[in-house]
Amino acid sequence: MVDINSTLKISLRALKVNKMRSILTMLGIIIGVGAVITMVAIGSGASERISEQISSIGSNLLIILPGATTSGGVRLGAGTQSTLTLDDAEAIQKECPSVSDVAPVLNGITQVVYGNQNWSTTVVGTTPSMLNVRDWNLSSGKPFTEQDVKSATKVCLLGQTVVDNLFGDLDTTNQIIRIKKIPFTVIGVLERKGQSPVGQDQDDTIYVPITTAQKKLFGTHIPGMVRNIMVKANSIEDLQKAEEQITALLKQRHHISQKQENDFTIRNLTQMMEAQEQSSRVMTLLLGAIASVSLIVGGIGIMNIMLVSVTERTREIGVRMAVGAKMWDIRLQFLIESITLSLIGGIIGIIIGISTSKLLSYFVGLPVIISIYSIFIAFAFSGLVGIFFGFYPAYKASLLNPIDALRYE
């Protein structure tokens, strides 16, 4: 075996002799590795934010909206018709095997009052399964029950934004707030959920039993009318099936023949969001690829300097060959030199990449995620660059004719 220790010592000395040159050569790798890590951190930060938002609206979600109305030949938008009812929601729950939870929604924006504070917010009438559908927990209190829905009790769950605006730091338990002048008892507070993918404040909401909303707050054109129905499928694979089952069921319930247009629309939120996440992942890859180009340019810099170094040290190579250095001894000497250059550059690059990412997130507020994975890859890649671009100069050195090398001026 080759004495790695001594060879390493020789290589390090050679690098030390030309300090400035070594540093400048490393700079290429430093910038390359730093750029890769920063770019990937920014990219994955962005896609992580998107996937957080996706999970904040709830996973495997379908939203069923009523169809468009046609009034005197003018077609209005989806949701303008009121064709969905509580019975539809119950039927979906009972008859669609791919559906795990169903939550009908009847909502409206209205003024709420507590003491001398008031606030305008979205009041959502729904059923207890809403919390499951949206993957939403309570931070305090308890949810309303099926019983509350049956008897249309005047209880409510508050979102954090509503709590902040009406109560500030005060205790909300069993306090009475007025929604459209009707007193409701606060029985629980929803956990903070943050922004939705489209930038809405999801915490600016109040949940009440759907029957209460229908009878006391918003009224209905037809009995049991709801504005939309949120459905959670068993799994992401079941989304498609759930959509088909619901379509079939509602067609049958609404007496729609094959040729007629549906009086409802099903939106697949998860799919939409995933497309968005996918595109941000592609973006991350693209950023990483662009940054990798600078790493390759850095590698070419190493190759350039190593070729110069071999030429400069032709005599030394000749002496080493004369006293018995074999081809691989010479190759290893120069390879270790280039690998050392690129690995030290890689380590400094990692440090700079991490600091840049942290600074960006601190000062610019970009979401960044520095993954161990990308650090490892960048480090390994810089080592490979050293081997790849160091090999040709090392190979060239090992092929020198010892006689010519010894006489080289």
């Binding site: 018995g324 250095a325 074999k326 001894d329």
Partner: protein
């Protein structure tokens, strides 16, 4: 079996279309323990001959047996190994590695036969001591005089226990007094340690230290005389 035997070796260099015969039909036998001086004007082929003897080059035609080994059959790495074991080189311009201490310069040949670090150091220190360079092991070549540098080179040539020392104009860059010192070292090595020495020189004074003088002219040996007094 002779230590060194060449049988009608010829070396032809090709420079494009032109063929240049550096040496032709050179046959010699050198036994163990001889002290040979190779003389001749520049261009007479003595350096080419030394390169072949030193296994740095192979003859175009003819056979070269080093300690019974036919050099023709060896590849690059085998030649390197042979040089490492059998031959020590001393050059006119010393050819020490710059920015490398005396000790590390002497350790160099042992780096390439995988001698353990500790043994390397002991042997190198001994070799330096033998050449009167005790206490200079941490010095860099450029901090030492020409004579001292050449002695480091000799220590390097001998440290691996090589039986053959090839010296190409070893006193060419040294003053008379230092030259004498170096030649006395060679004589001592030859007489006391039985090391076979090849010395290329064009100075008769230096050649006089040897016991056998081979003269080259135009790539051929023109005389080969043995001298009784060293």
């Amino acid at each position: 079996m002779s230590l060194i035997e060449t049988k009608q070796i010829t070396k032809i260099y090709k420079l494009g279309e032109i063929e240049l015969t550096a040496i032709s039909d050179v046959s010699i036998k050198v036994e163990k323990g001889e002290f040979v001086a190779i003389m001749g004007p520049s261009g007479s082929g003595k350096t080419t001959f030394m390169n072949i003897i030193g296994c740095l080059d192979k003859p175009t035609n003819g056979k070269y047996l080093l300690d019974g080994i036919d050099v023709e059959t060896l590849n690059r790495d085998e030649l390197a190994e042979l040089r490492n074991k059998k031959i020590g080189f001393v050059f006119q311009n010393f050819n020490l590695l710059p920015r490398t201490t005396a000790l590390e310069n002497v350790e160099l040949p042992m780096l390439y036969n995988r001698t353990p670090a500790k043994e390397r150091k002991t042997k190198a220190l001994n070799a330096l001591k033998m050449l009167g360079l005790e206490g200079k092991e941490k010095y860099y070549p450029n901090q030492l005089s020409g004579g001292q540098q050449q002695r480091i080179a000799i220590a390097r040539a001998l440290v691996n226990g090589a039986p053959i020392l090839l010296a190409d104009e070893p006193t060419g860059n040294l003053d008379t007094k230092t030259s004498t010192e170096i030649m006395e070292i060679f004589t001592r090595l030859n007489e006391e340690s039985g090391i076979t020495i090849f010395l290329v020189t064009h100075e008769p004074d230096i050649a006089n230290y040897s016991k056998r003088i081979i003269r080259f002219l135009d790539g051929r040996i023109i005389s080969d005389e043995r001298r009784s007094n060293g």
